[in-house]
Amino acid sequence: MSTKRIPHWADVTLVPLLSVFLAFVISAVLIWAIGESPWEAVKLMVDGAFGSSYGWGYTLYYATNFMFTGLAVAVAFQARLFNIGGEGQAALGGLGVALVCLYIPWPHWTLALLGASLGAAAFGALWAFIPGYLQAKRGSHIVITTIMFNFIAASFLNYMLVSFLRPQGSQDPSSPRFPDATTLPKLHEILGLFGIPFSKVPPVNISLLIATALCFAVWWMLWRTRLGYQIRAFGESEPAAKYAGISPARITIIVMLISGGLAGLMALNNVMGEQERLVLNAVEGAGFIGIAVALMGRNHPFGVFLAAILFGFLYQGGAELALWTGIPRELIVVIQALVILFTGALDNMVRIPIAKLFAIRRTG
């Protein structure tokens, strides 16, 4: 690595912003190359995502998903573990939510939310536990095992839906609708209590508040508790952590449990909050977007919060774009890829010139 020092503020703001800027520039070139106007596209996206409370509602709904999965990836990254399994863990979280909502007669949504949270977190954590355990005890590469577990999760979920959860006579591989008592309050209902009008259409719900609270909780855990210190120490240097009496196996497993639990909790938003039943491929790639969100947010919970909103904007704006122009939704996947590439892999390409600039300023 280049050892030239960059001031901390530049490291956490300048480097990610410049990376995202590069990703946007290349995306703009792509839009231009397929014969559309980048400027019009940006206007449409901003208007579609932030121009109305309807747009805001969808932006925040998507952002909620990405906060959960982004936090999941970020926590693992803090211990220098790359959890690509958010997709599978979130899918399993959905199964947890479905089982809790379908088979327990909840009297009120508050209790159902509590139960579903436990179910979602437990199933997600369990799905991350196995790769975590195998990494800790058997040295199996966590990246490969979590990728494999995404596929195993997809098959397992397919099997559960087709063979058990699907109502008799239904062709559709999905569970029955959850009972009404498990319906989560939507954001417009919550804002309505304060007399603030908000569109009733978007699925954004109380999970947004939970995700936001979790951003804070994860920050607290990482920087204000002993466990968080151990996680970060382990991430900085495994030999040093070992020397300080921190057990690598223990930290690896705990971090993966937390990470999987966070990814699993995403099901509160999409399965319980939006679909109100379990469908095939409910996660729709949100687990992978968590990687981009975590990288862009520099693995810091507040960074994740902001990056999640940016990706929520991209998602909602991208949907509008697909509706009104010839640009398909997959453009967002390209942007996501470029963000991952520039913030995660080509980090040094951005960092080295910035470091040089600071070096010149210091000496000059």
Binding site: M1, L30, I34, G35, F82, I84, I130, L134, R138, G139, S140, H141, V143, I144, T145, I147, M148, F149, F151, I152, S155, F156, N158, Y159, V162, S163, F288, I291, L295, G326, I327, P328, E330, L331, I332, V333, V334, I335, Q336, A337, L338, I340, L341, G344, A345, L346, D347, N348, M349
Partner: protein
């Protein structure tokens, strides 16, 4: 299961194993040189798209194949720049390449063909023609020998190329000076550097070969196995190839065994809804998940131990 069904399943096993084999050998060569590559999937997908697109426009499948190889090598070079030159995280770079391909193929396909992110169906010379082996016709009626020979005959040229790549890869890695250096770069780059050989050069070479092979995998997928490109058509094959590579413990001949096994699983899952083994009905989803489960078991070291090349995944930093 009657003989004809059995022959059909084996026949499609060979076809389904072909893209896996190309991609698996691609990953094997890259990782032997110390560059992890989880971007096999993306390179395959990009190649599948461009091969189908160019084959459709030009009406010549081989121009398509060349285009597929070209785009795949370009993506390999992105991976090379990120992981070799800028010493970035190889795993993250691979993930980025997978998404880049997943997104950009649909965006461009929509722009070029307006068919919802697919290419038009390929016909005639735009598709790979089956290659009848000599005497296949004459032997068809001979019992046992006829059907068995029939399984091997009548595939696209790239199927045979893929299986020939196995001894070629073995020879390249274990019987040439280039191969020795390539493996050394993956095990102990500092030693190679001391010997005056460019680590960077070797690694770029390996990454480029990986790109060519992924290009062939993708081109076969869209012009041989299917007749045209559809969105996300690689459908996890790049990851299965990765699984096969680990399963084979980074050895070419074993890689062929692994992809044949995974190809067979896919062929059986395509042919039957569920399968009964010793009175136990195995649901189709188990068949689909089996390659991944087997890989995890191998990785966990319960059945043998899969040890990757020692310097895999870490960028090489020259000492000053």
């Amino acid at each position: 299961m009657d003989m004809a069904t059995f022959a059909q399943v084996l026949d499609s096993t060979l076809r389904l194993a072909t893209p896996l084999l190309f991609a698996c050998l691609a990953g094997l060569i890259s990782e032997r040189a110390g560059i992890f590559d989880i971007g096999l999937e993306g390179k395959m997908l990009a190649a599948a798209f461009l091969a189908a697109a160019i084959a459709f426009v030009s009406g010549n499948v081989w121009l398509g194949v060349l285009a597929g190889i070209a785009v795949s090598v370009c993506m390999s070079l992105i991976h090379g720049v990120a992981s070799i030159t800028f010493r970035g995280n190889q795993l993250i770079s691979g993930v980025a390449i997978n998404f880049l391909a997943a997104g950009i193929t649909v965006v461009i396909a929509q722009r070029w063909f307006q068919q919802g992110g697919r290419t038009p169906s390929l016909t005639g010379d735009a598709r790979m023609a089956p290659l009848e082996l000599p005497f296949a016709e004459a032997l068809a009626d001979v019992p046992v020998l006829g059907p068995v020979y029939g399984i091997f005959s009548g595939h696209a040229l790239l199927v045979y190329v893929a299986f020939l790549c196995v001894p070629a890869t073995w020879f390249l890695l274990f019987r040439t000076r280039f191969g020795l250096r390539l493996r050394a770069v993956g095990e102990n780059p500092a030693a190679v550097d001391t010997a005056g050989i460019s680590v960077i050069g070797m690694r770029y070479g390996a990454v480029a070969i990986c790109g060519v092979l992924c290009g062939l995998a993708g081109a076969y997928l869209s012009t041989g196995l299917s007749a045209g490109f559809v969105k996300d058509m690689s459908a996890g094959r790049g990851y299965i190839a990765l699984a096969a590579m680990i399963f084979a413990k980074w050895r070419p001949w074993h890689a062929m065994g692994a992809v044949l096994l995974f190809g067979l699983l896919e062929a059986v899952a395509n042919r039957f809804q569920s399968i009964e083994i010793m009175g136990l009905a195995l649901p189709i989803q188990v068949m689909q998940a089996l390659p991944y489960i087997l890989t995890v078991v191998i990785l966990a070291g319960f059945v043998g131990r899969a040890i990757p090349p020692r310097a895999g995944g870490s960028p090489y930093v020259k000492e000053h």
